[in-house]
Every structure is written in C-alpha cells, then in structure tokens.
Symmetry: C2
Subunit: 331 residues, 2 copies
C-alpha cells in the first residue's frame, strides 16, 4: 500500500488538520469532525450541510465556503458520518432560517442524515433533505437501494449554495437542489481500483487489460467488466448510458469530466475532448464545463462524466460567485 | 499501461483539443501547439511565455490567463518544445513591450528557448529569460547541468505574471522572476513511478516497500532510495533538505504541497498538516499556502514541497488577482 499517510486510523483527522492549517477561513472542529464556514451561522441564511465518507476530496469539506456549503461532516474513508456529527454540523450553521441536508444516496448516509434531522427537529431546527442519485450505471448497488449519488453532488451543492447565498428560503433552496438532481446524470469508468487505508487491499481486482464500466465512487462493481478501451470509447460508453436515460439532444448542458483521483489532468483533458466531440455530434450544446478531480475515489484511475441539463436560472446560479478551497470563481 | 488516452502519439494534441474546448478564453493553436491568452497581445504589456514537456499539467497551459502567463508552448510528454513552437508563442504575445521566457532548467528546454529567443530578436522582439532551478535534491541530474526547475515555476509564473499585469517593464518583471527563483526551493518524493505513453514502461522501478527521495518531475533519480515512510517522515526529509540549503527559521513563507498526479487530495492534506507542524516547530511563519496537484508528473504518486521566502512585495503580487484554468482567485 503506497500512501502518503501516517497511520491508516489517522488519515481523516490528519487530513482535517491539514485542511484547517491551509484554509484559515474554515473552522475545522476536530472533536466533532466537522468543517464549518468561518462566518457561520449567518443571520437569515439557510444553512447547507453535506457529508459522507472521506476519500472523495475535495467533496465535501473542500466545498465549504461562500456560495456553496456551510458545513460538511466527513466520515471515515468510504464510511458514513455518524448522526451526532451531522447534528453538530447542522447546529453550527443554523441561524433560524432552516438547514438543507444534501445527502448522497447510500444506505448508511440516508439513515444517519435522517436520524440527525430528527435530532435537529428536536432542537427546533427546521431541516429539509435532498437526495442525490444521479448515477445511471446501476439501479441498485452494493451500498444503495436505488441509484448512487456521485458527480452531480457538486452541481447540487454549487447551485443550491448560490441560491442560499442570495437569501433563498429553505423550500426554494431545497426545490432547486431537487431540480438539479433530477436534471443530472453521471457514469464512471475505472481503470484501476483503489485501496482503503484501513483495509490495505484493493477494493476490487482488474486484469491488466480490463476496465470497469459504471464503477461507483467506492469501487463498487459497475455494469460490466470490459477490455481496455480508448478515451473516445470510454466517453462514448459513459455519455451513451446517460443519453439513454436522459436524452441530451437539443439540451444546453453543464458537463463535468471528473478525474477519479489517480488519473492525471492531461488524461482528463483527453477525455473532455472526446466528450465535447460526442456532445456536438449528438446535438447537445455545451454551455458550461468543468474538468478536474472534484469527486474522487482515493487513488482510483479513471473518470466520471456528469451532465446537467441547464435552464437559464440554473446557469445563472452556476455562474454566481463561489469561494471555497475546491471551487472558486467570480468573486 | 492503464491510461485514459486514445493513442500514445496523440496524447498532447488530444489534451490541447480538450483544453481548447473547455476554456474558450484561451486560443489554442493546434498547428503550432501553443496555448495563448484570448486577448493577447495586450498593448504595452510584457508578454510572459513558458513551456516545457507535457505531463506536468496544469503547468504550463493551465496557467495561461489574466495575471499569469500569456502563452505556453507544450512539448511532447517529458520532451522540450521545439524552437519554432516557442517562437510562435513569443510572437503571439509580443506587443512591443518585450517578452519574458520562463525556462525550467533542463538542457533541452534551455537550448530550445535560447534558440527561440535568438529567432525572436531577429524579428525585433526583445526577450529576457529567467531560469528556474529550485530543486535542492541533486546538483546535476539526468537532464540538467545544475539544479532542476520544478515546483517554484508556479511561484515565478504567478508573481511575475502579476507584475506584468500591472504594467511592469521587461527588466522589472525579469528581476522579480529571478528574485522569486532565488528565494524558492523544492524537494520531491515519489511513492510510485509513472509511465510515458510513448514508452509504455515505467520510468523507473520501486520495490513494494520503497520510495525515492528527491525525485525529479520526469522520474529522474533523486538522492536516495529509502524504505517506505510516514507522511511526517517524508515531509521532514523534504523540508530538512530545503532548510539546509535555505534556512527557513524566522522567514515568512509561501508553501506549496504539490501532488505529483497520482496521489489523491486527502493525502496531500495529510502531508500539508505535517508541513505546517514542521514549519511551526522550526520557526518559520507560513503566510500563504497552496495544496493540490499543480506541477505534476503524469500519474506518479508522491508529493513535492516548495517554499518561497516572501517579502511584502512578493506577498502582494502573490495575492493579486489571477484567472487561469489551473489557478484562480480574487477577481
């Protein structure tokens, strides 16, 4: 296991220490293991909280800041955060205007966020929840009933975060978050597995000339094992799967070509080139683009393609200023 | 070879196509293989040109834009750009105020930039050159006479770019670029090798429990092969080597903990935590921080630590707005 860590049990806390040291604008509470905007709670603002297993950085802790999340609750690597942790994040950002939980659809996350929401309601904090389930690869999976939440989580956090920053009410922010999720789809491909530090062994095995189509962000099996393929073929598989589920022809789209953690940027741009060609050939209009490792899976090699069918309002909110460690523009 | 590419010979052009499609603010000239700011040449502005082998993205093409480079000339993977390419970049950004070449110290880069500068002078373009040679690991190396140019290239491009954006004259911009280089040091550690697509084999071999201390950004050998170590030990090796060459006690520093391409962000933050502790323990004051994969070496796992001893003026220029695909803030 070749990892730049101290001890497997300390990875999450050590990384949180690093995040705190590198970004003084964040409050990192090591005891509760939460990452909070330095200026939270902000009077009158709906608080946005997300979280989930660690190992997907910059998601979610790197997306805490102006115009995006107010707090994140990172669990152990690939492990749901516990309810008390989510409750602490919720309480930390509650200003009376309500808190939105953005939850990726994994069984543990769903249960623990639900429990945290109930505990928050006991403290008179109004909580709404939105489930992200954008992954078209499989209907049920190792860790989910229903589709997995993957790359579109970034879209939901950015766009709902912009509306909350503008003063949107809880029901409005929740509605736009659901709208983004409904209009978004993702599909991932792994060229290599990854190794959870505490386990010490790869999450799965791939033959030298194999790839996994429809992989999840924890190395869960996808649709099928296939022979090694070109970037054009891999992107075609991803976008064809998305298009079959949500037709893209004629749509104005936001596209994320997302590195899974171990694939360098030069290859992500090779993949994006293929995606841009595919979308043009299939009548979609690319209005906004993001290329980079945003929703990762430790050191897994490969990429995920995520697409959101935009509306003028979603485009406006996407373009709104954001200032977080992992995403920053326009301010 | 598990790579998200189409064919080894097409990687650089395919990635440039992707860069062009993703960033309409850039002009990507596929014939000359150069990346140019959309608004270049800007009247009265010193043009900043850098380049070098591909495989280090976002360096250099991803640093073209407001407040940083005016153009980049990417060679084949780990191969110097040719003089005609550098000349085309120089011509494209020349507005009469002169052009600064920022050259990483590798024999091929130095020769080809020099030849391009001579060709540019023939066209009455005034060219100044600054050499980046920040890597303290080795004195001479596989591809260099003298020290290698690595992570500090980002510091030089950002800070010189800010002064050029403000209207600094060629000699002033060159002087601040040299000052940044002189005040900066780097040291890298590899946990795995990388594979040049055209070669198909790893650049070197590491045993299962080995790391390479003082690695170059092309997999060139470093100082020594060592046993696998913790992040704290690895960062101690890097910062001790830097401190021995340029004492850090009492200095206000800018620190980059740079992922080499295959190491995920969670591990880079683990390393930054160790770096922050080390610097505090050794009396250095961390004034600015950057954590992420900025100067990469394909899919190599590991990290590089780069440190610049700031002055108030260098800090001001570092903080100035920048808007490029790879680095963006304050605008």
């Amino acid at each position: 296991m070749r990892k730049l860590i101290n001890a497997p049990a300390d990875v999450v806390v050590d990384a949180l220490r690093g995040l705190a040291a590198a970004h003084p604008s964040l409050r990192v509470d090591l005891e509760n293991r939460i990452v909070v905007r330095g200026d939270a709670p902000r009077a009158g603002k709906v608080g946005l909280v997300s979280g989930g297993g660690s190992g997907h950085e910059p998601l979610h802790g790197g997306f805490v800041g102006y115009g995006m999340l107010d707090a994140a609750a990172p669990g152990e690597v690939f492990t749901s955060p516990v309810p008390d942790q989510i409750l602490a994040a919720t309480t930390a950002v509650s200003s009376g205007a309500g808190v939105l939980h953005i939850v990726k659809n994994y069984t543990g996350d769903v249960l623990n966020f639900r429990m945290a929401a109930e505990l928050a309601e006991d403290e008179d904090i109004g909580v709404a929840s939105v489930l992200v389930n954008d992954d078209v690869a499989v209907e049920d999976s190792t860790y989910t009933a229903g589709r997995r939440g993957t790359g579109a989580t970034l879209f939901v956090e950015k766009i709902a975060g912009a509306l909350a920053e503008e003063g949107g009410a809880l029901d409005e922010v929740a509605a736009v978050a659901r709208e983004v999720n409904e209009r978004s789809r993702s599909f991932g491909v792994a060229l290599s597995p990854c190794t959870v530090p505490a386990a010490g062994e790869p999450t799965f095995e791939l033959g030298d000339d194999e790839i996994e189509l429809g992989i999840g962000i924890h190395g869960e099996p996808g649709r099928e094992r296939a022979k090694a393929a070109t970037a054009i073929e891999i992107v075609d598989a991803a976008l064809s799967a998305i298009d079959a589920d949500m037709p893209l022809s004629g749509a104005e789209v936001l596209v994320l070509v997302n590195g899974m953690g171990g694939t360098p940027l030069i290859e992500q741009y090779v993949a994006y080139s293929a995606a841009a060609d595919w979308l043009a050939d299939h009548g979609a209009i690319v209005a906004r683009t993001l290329v980079g490792p945003y929703v990762t899976s430790l050191e897994m090699a490969g990429c995920m393609v995520s697409v959101c069918r935009l509306t003028p309002e979603l485009t406006r909110l996407w373009d709104a200023p954001v200032e977080t460690p992992g995403l920053r523009w326009g301010r």
